[in-house]
Symmetry: C2
Subunit: 123 residues, 2 copies
């Protein structure tokens, strides 16, 4: 293996850089619209389950447990592509959502824009 | 002010939920292509400077200092829209990048996809 291939920044080895809590940030975008749907976190188990099943799994920081997105709501997310960034501490997940990503019922968690220091709902 | 307007999840008040280090995660997408460019962090000062200047500022966790993206490389990011998520602990920044977002010279930090447990460069 060349040095280049062994380099986390340029190589072909998946070496997620988990934080002190064993988590990596995952950004989920809509495979069709490209819109940002949600931001969540994965531990190694969630990442493996997501790769194996093709359905997004996360680690809930509030509940401190593995979390299959949509397990109760039915709004699962079918993963079409996963990418990792240069220093391998963030994931980009493109997915087809079966329903709203947000617990408020909106398609995306990012339904408010910042304008003049305040928030404006756009969905 | 109604309860609804006062609610961080539905209201119009910008109340970023900073983590224990005083930071909030910021996801930057390309205003034209919609592609995810990078993920970084902001402290309150960086967020204010970004709002005031229209140019993305972050807080460098490695260097522990305010960081105007592109200050040395010239590859600044002009912000076209900022959104915040339901629980106000993540920002979505749409921007027009003046050049590559990644320090490796690639347009996006997410230039490798995960395939069969390995990484494939796509840029």
């Amino acid at each position: 293996m060349t040095d280049s291939e062994n380099d986390p920044e340029t190589g072909s080895l998946l070496r997620p850089k988990y934080d002190s809590n064993g988590l990596i940030t995952a950004v989920v975008t809509d495979d069709s619209s490209g819109d940002l749907l949600m931001l969540a976190h994965m531990n190694a188990e969630a990442l493996q389950l997501t790769q194996d099943s093709g359905v997004a799994h996360f680690f809930s920081r509030s509940r401190q447990c593995l979390w299959k997105k949509g397990e109760t709501s039915g709004n699962i997310m079918s993963v079409t592509e996963m990418r990792i960034d240069c220093d391998q501490d963030a994931l980009w997940i493109k997915a087809v959502p079966a329903g709203p990503a947000c617990h408020t019922g909106r398609l995306s968690c990012f339904y408010r824009k910042i304008a003049d220091g305040k928030l404006e709902r756009i969905a």
